[in-house]
């Protein structure tokens, strides 16, 4: 088991510094693409106006992937003055496929070398740069990812920097972007079989602004509140479900889960795993934020945002235990609580 745990009472190593990620703002921007829209000549909505509305500036010559990142990040930080060391931790399952596809098509089909700006924009931290610049984050910027739950790896590293004491505020986000033509995009993300015909595509930009201290500086966060939205009290990683269940069975863990805790069902969990988790924890309700009727690669961030929002049916619960897995059975756990 690998511990990113915030609370020393639950940590197995005594030298673990107590760290909590207080979520002071959150934003989930999701573009759903209906089937009828998908069949249009230009199915993807133009984002330039939305970029300008959310950032206050017309940022030119950026790709759609970067536009999505800027929209989500700026909406998240709206009305909040960032700390001087605020850092950006950005992730994506597949990065900017659109610009890379254009480069490859230009090179191989058209035998044209890449335009300088296209090449520079193909670097993943082009998005980090534009986000940091547009929100005024003057700390570090990192593009980090893993194949199956990108935002979890970004959360892990921001936790690490908080524990080091080098950062007190972090803007953590993940972006999934579609590229045209959409039938090719379906092939790339493997949502192109007969069984997938009813699934609508989506693209998303999910962001959390977290702080090492709860919010009390009088600012208003993106929900119009002056309070912390919630706290990530634990980030846990396990190499298999057995060790995850053993940890969940620990008395100290179970004592931390109030009656109204919901199980946040990560994208890759199957029914058997959900059942085993409910049995181990005694949790009665699941929070299924991943809808089967639409798809984008990495919705964990959306799950956290929706849990914290007042609009979500399951959001009356005070605590969410979010669990996800990957094809080799590794598990990630997030414990999110509301104030």
């Amino acid at each position: 088991m690998v511990n990113f745990f915030s609370d020393q009472s639950l940590s197995q190593k005594n030298n673990r510094k107590k760290v909590q990620l207080h979520i002071i703002a959150a934003e989930s921007y999701v573009n759903e693409i209906s089937h009828s829209q998908e069949n249009n000549e230009t199915p993807l909505v133009d984002l330039k106006k939305i970029v300008k509305e959310s950032s206050g500036k017309a940022i030119r010559r950026i790709t759609r992937f970067v536009q999505l990142a800027v929209i989500g990040a700026n909406r998240c930080c709206k009305g909040i003055e960032l700390d001087s060391n605020a850092s950006v931790y950005f992730s994506s399952c597949r990065g900017d496929t659109g610009v890379t596809v254009d480069l490859l098509n230009g090179l191989v089909r058209d035998q044209q070398p890449p335009a300088p700006l296209s090449f520079v924009n193909s670097v993943s931290n082009a998005a980090c740069f534009q986000v940091a610049k547009s929100v005024g984050a003057l700390g570090a910027s990192n593009f980090i990812t893993n194949r199956f739950d990108p935002i979890f790896s970004a959360l892990q590293l921001s936790w690490s920097d908080f524990a080091m004491g080098t950062r007190t505020q972090a803007l953590i986000g993940s972006v999934d972007c579609c590229s045209e033509p959409l039938n090719n995009h379906r092939r790339r993300i493997h949502v192109d079989t007969q069984a997938d015909a009813d699934i609508e595509l989506a693209e998303a930009s999910n962001w959390l602004l977290v702080s090492s201290e709860p919010m009390n500086n009088g600012s208003t966060n993106s929900s119009g509140n002056t309070n912390t939205l919630g706290t990530i009290e634990a980030l846990e990683y396990f190499s298999n479900i057995e060790s995850c269940l053993a940890w969940l069975n620990d008395e100290n863990v179970l004592n931390r889960l109030p009656e109204d805790t919901v199980l946040g069902v990560g994208q890759h969990l199957n029914d058997d795993q959900v059942k085993a988790l409910l049995t181990a924890t005694g949790i009665k309700e699941c929070f299924h934020y991943v809808t089967r009727s639409r798809y984008y690669d990495s919705p964990t961030g959306e799950g956290i945002v929706r849990f914290l929002s007042d609009l979500e049916a399951k959001s009356t619960a005070s605590t969410m235990l979010h669990v996800n897995t990957d094809p080799s059975g590794r598990m990630t756990v997030l414990l999110v609580t509301k104030p």
């Binding site: 490859l104 090179l107 993943s124 740069f129 700390g139 980090i144 990812t145 893993n146």
Partner: protein, 448 residues
């Protein structure tokens, strides 16, 4: 941060196929020599035409691998380099179960994708970028080695593997993982070659950092790996290693040198990462962000500028990049009682982009461990306009570093700066174990 120990390395670059081969070649290498300098890469088989005089460029290609053998690069070279590092670290099967994997690259497997797409482009159902997961390379490595620990992929341009090192060290220091395997990958590909050509950043001749004649960078490819751990594990590892050397010595009845690689270890002391929002392709020429990241790296390592005796510069030899770094380094050390010796690795292996973090780290640190400092005679010598002089002599004594003894109380700074305003500095030292057996050698190189 508590010191993090590097107990295994692997490297394949233009200098050689293993770490030791590369370090030995580094000592003897002359960047201007046709034998040991850059290769000449002909772009005639590439997809796009360029003016004739631009169809050959200097490029530091991997030693001993055919330029066109994409598959060998991606799989055989990568896994061989990882095997070098993990076997030196003597990792067990249980260690692989929980080791953290940290991959840093700019271009990942794009060379493979270019090749595949070229072969299928005329098919009815051809598709560019058929496989497109940012974490795919990490997954490949995990499956190959049966790694079940957490994995992280860093894509921050030229600071990718430097950031991978930094976070691997942090997570070890915080007790999250016991071991970290850092892997850095950068292979030649058309997208990158044409991309830098289009930005007019490539030199037609040679890579001359900080030199008044500098006119751009020379690309290179490299693949490297390192195993990191905390002090307790490193001490045990040293004991085991020393025991086997002593045993070997008594069995062969010869006095075998217990060289500096057994009695000393490279340690990562700390580092920092900052974003400069001045420009996508270059950090601010005034160098204030460079100075800030150096200062923060030192603070994170609990050191003052006086502790640094050598700086491994990023040194891309681009007009603006070197200017920013020169200004930043001068600013960071302006209050110090001495200006550190400056060196650069890119004249020997080229600019290996996302892999330069770890590849240059290994070459620089192993060179010091073996008692010399990479030298670039006639490049950036005294009196150049930027005021940063690169060391002209491999001898530590000639650089007023008084040999390995002086280095024992010293630390070293390594700079890396990348597109997207990403700036990273790492701080390292060479730690000598006090209770290590003294050399009884007749064999072995003379050091210091």
């Amino acid at each position: 941060m508590n010191p993090i120990h590097i107990i295994g390395t692997g490297l394949h670059s233009a200098l050689g196929k293993t770490t030791q081969e590369c370090v030995t070649a580094l000592r003897a290498s002359n960047p201007f020599d046709a034998e040991t300098g850059a290769n000449v890469k002909n772009l005639s088989h590439y997809a796009c035409s360029l003016p004739e005089h631009e169809m050959t460029i200097p490029y530091y290609l991997l030693k001993g691998v055919s330029e066109n053998d994409v598959q060998t690069r991606l799989h055989a070279v990568l896994f061989d380099v990882i095997a070098q590092a993990t076997s030196e670290a003597e990792l067990s099967e249980e260690d692989f179960e929980t080791i953290g994997l940290f991959v840093g690259s700019s271009s990942f497997e794009i060379a493979d994708e270019e090749e595949r797409f070229k072969q299928t482009v005329n098919d009815d159902d051809s598709l560019a970028l058929a496989e497109c997961g940012m974490g795919n390379l990490s997954e490949r490595i995990r499956k190959h080695l049966n790694i079940n620990g957490p994995d992280f992929t860093f894509n921050t341009a030229c600071t990718s593997s430097a950031n991978a090192m930094l976070y691997a060290g942090q997570l070890i220091d915080q007790g999250v993982i016991d071991y970290g395997l850092v892997v850095a990958v950068e292979f030649v590909n058309e997208t990158t070659t044409y991309g830098f050509h289009g930005l007019q950043l490539l030199s037609p001749t040679a890579l001359l950092p900080f030199d008044d004649r500098r006119d751009g960078l020379v690309l290179g490819e490299s693949c490297s790996a390192a195993v990191l751990c905390n002090q307790d594990i490193a001490s045990q590892h040293l004991k085991n290693k020393t025991r086997s050397v002593v045993k070997q010595s008594s069995e062969s009845k010869e006095n075998i040198s217990i060289d500096n690689n057994v009695s000393s270890v490279i340690r990562l002391l700390g580092g920092a990462n900052l974003c400069d929002t001045h420009s996508m392709s270059i950090t601010h020429e005034e160098g204030d962000i460079v100075a800030n990241v150096i200062t923060q790296a030192l603070e994170n390592s609990a050191l003052t500028p006086e502790a640094i005796s050598i700086v491994k510069c990023h040194g891309t030899a681009t007009p603006g990049g070197d200017l920013a770094e020169a200004n930043g380094v001068k600013r960071a050390f302006s209050q110090s009682n001495h200006f550190p010796v400056c060196t650069a690795i890119k004249p020997f292996i080229g600019h290996t982009l996302g892999a330069c973090g770890l590849s240059e780290f290994i070459l620089f640190c192993c060179a010091l461990q073996q008692g010399f400092l990479p030298a670039t005679p006639t490049i950036a010598s005294e009196g150049n306009q930027l005021g940063v002089v690169l060391n002209q002599n491999i001898s530590l004594k000639e650089n007023k570093l008084n040999g390995l003894e002086a280095l024992k109380d010293s630390a070293f700074l390594l700079n890396y700066f990348g597109f997207g305003g990403n700036n990273t500095s790492l701080v390292v030292d060479i730690h000598h174990f006090e209770n290590a057996p003294k050399s009884t050698a007749v064999k072995g190189d003379e050091h210091g």
